[in-house]
């Protein structure tokens, strides 16, 4: 369905992608892992032409083009077939949750207002924001904003949804609600490419795991294979490091000495931590 071949991208003298191939089939959930700076995000952004690749070609259903020569029209056609979920949500701040989701339907695709509203409401219901239609992004918690971001992509019925580290800007407490939404999506048969550091998500939800390092794909395969028997040394080292950190975070008994002047507020998302802090200031 979606196939990219030999994609190269440099920023100045810094070569980020050094010839990456990727094939995505319908219904697949591909999780891309790798250390930061390995080119995961850049690859995703190149697919959606948020970054113009220096070399390589893309094949998306019946659209075939070289990255370098793609016209604005082709780029828009490819974008209309794909959804993109950003690390920082990037919701339209001047529009409500519902308007955010409707925007791509009414403006970019010419769907009549009424139908668009219906579809947008459905999408928001799916991500569990039934009672937040008329809230502006500034009135939502990070997790809720990201769920609107996901609804905005889902409402467009894209062939594939690209997730760029969707949980890394979130409070740890809010990660779960977003991952659950993504899990539901995967179970409903959506095709997804997910760049993430969430190992549990990769293990439980992915149909294929790709490990990238230094601008190339080092290894790819089924999650159980990659996690238990990585073939490449680099993959093994990366996993060891990440999983060890996870383990350490769980087991850490070495808390710093208690400082009475520091008060940590640990509550759930939307519980009013931030609002409390503003009140104090």
């Amino acid at each position: 369905m979606l196939k990219i071949t030999n994609i190269h991208k440099s920023f100045g003298n810094n070569q980020i992608l050094k010839g990456v191939d990727l094939e995505v089939n319908k219904g697949e959930v591909i999780v891309v892992l790798g250390p930061s700076g390995s080119g995961k995000t850049t690859m995703l952004r190149c697919i959606n032409f948020l970054e113009r690749a220096d070399q390589g070609s893309i094949e998306f259903d019946d659209i075939k083009t070289d990255f370098r020569v793609a016209s604005q029209k082709t780029i828009r056609d490819i974008r209309k077939k794909s959804g993109f979920v950003f690390q920082n949500y990037n919701l339209f701040a001047n529009k409500t949750a519902l308007e955010n989701v409707m925007e791509g339907l009414t403006v970019a695709r010419g769907v009549p207002r009424k139908e668009a509203e219906e579809r947008a409401k459905n999408a928001l219901d799916r991500v569990g924001l039934k009672n937040r239609y008329d809230y502006y992004p500034s009135q939502l918690s990070g997790g809720q904003q990201q769920r609107v971001g996901i609804a905005r992509a889902v409402a467009l019925n894209p062939e594939v949804i690209l997730f760029d580290e969707p949980t890394s800007a979130l409070d740890p407490e809010l990660v779960g609600e977003v991952l659950n939404v993504m899990k539901d999506l995967a179970e409903s048969g959506a095709t997804m490419v997910v760049v993430t550091h969430e190992m549990d998500f990769a293990r439980d939800v992915a149909s294929k795991v790709i490990f990238m390092d230094k601008g190339v794909i080092v290894e790819e395969g089924a999650p159980e294979e990659i996690f238990t028997h990585p073939k490449e040394e680099r993959t093994a080292q990366f996993l060891k490091r990440i999983l060890k950190e996870d383990y350490r975070a769980d087991q850490d008994s070495d808390f710093p000495e208690r400082d009475e002047s520091l008060l940590a507020k640990v509550f759930g998302g939307g519980s009013g931590k931030k609002t409390y802090n503003w009140g104090v200031c």
């Binding site: 959804g83 993109f84 919701l91 529009k95 970019a108 503003w278």
Partner: protein, 242 residues
């Protein structure tokens, strides 16, 4: 020294009749300047080498010269130069001096306001984060749609306080139009005062009128800001934030 209240009242009434001219100077200038300044800001942001150099030179030239000097220049030199041009180059009998002097006032004030507003718009456009532009493109909008629907509406709201400031200082600057024989509030009051040398009274009167006008302008902008920045407000739950 004695203040003649009767004279003040008369001058007040006369000066009031100058308000339409002052407001006309302010709003026509704003109408001319806003679109031009906006495109200038976009031009500067596009980062085109030549255009941003030219714009940068224009802005620093206009902002680096006193407005009084610009008035003297445009009001004294320009008509003479134009007259020379019409007479000796085009050989027509067109009389430049018959122009309404308010045209020169519009020119000078617009040149200044464009320079200020272009900077206001430029910084306002920069306050909207690039991520929203990317998001708009990713859902299939054209760059034009993304700008007109997402970026520019937010930039205008961000620019509103500064547009308000610019309007107030423009309104005050229009008092210099009397130098170009435009009969605005200041000019009318000065004419009244000249008859019996009651300058103090006349100045007091126009001072009050300008304070009133500027206050009204500020209130209007504050109201507009409150209405338009609805999306920035959080739900008010904590009384102490009010």
């Amino acid at each position: 020294m004695e203040i003649e209240l009767g004279f003040m009242w008369e001058t007040f009434l006369v000066a009031l009749s100058g308000i339409p001219v002052t407001l006309k100077l302010t709003f026509v200038t704003l109408l001319i300047s806003t679109p031009l300044a906006f495109f200038m800001a976009l031009g500067k942001l596009m980062d085109h080498k030549i255009s941003s150099k030219v714009i940068g030179f224009y802005v620093s030239f206009v902002r680096g010269t006193p407005i009084v000097l610009q008035i003297l220049f445009f009001y004294s030199l320009l008509p003479t130069a134009l007259n020379y041009f019409f007479k000796n180059v085009l050989h027509s009998g067109y009389n430049v001096f018959a122009w309404n002097p308010i045209i020169y006032a519009y020119t000078v004030f617009s040149l200044n306001t464009i320079a200020v507003l272009s900077e206001v718009f430029r910084s306002a456009l920069l306050t909207v984060n690039a991520g929203q532009l990317e998001a708009a493109m990713s859902i299939g909008e054209t760059k034009f749609q993304a700008y007109t629907r997402i970026i520019i509406p937010q930039a205008l709201v961000a620019a509103l306080p500064n547009i308000g400031n610019t309007t107030v200082s423009l309104l005050k600057n229009t008092s210099l139009a009397y130098m170009m024989t435009v009969k605005d509030i200041t000019a009318l009051a000065k004419i009244e005062a000249a008859i019996g040398y009651n300058y103090i009274e006349a100045y007091l009167v126009i001072l009050m009128i300008y304070v009133l006008l500027c206050t009204v302008v500020q209130l209007i902008f504050r109201f507009a800001e409150n209405v338009l920045s609805v999306y920035k407000k959080r739900i008010e739950v904590i009384p102490c934030l009010k």
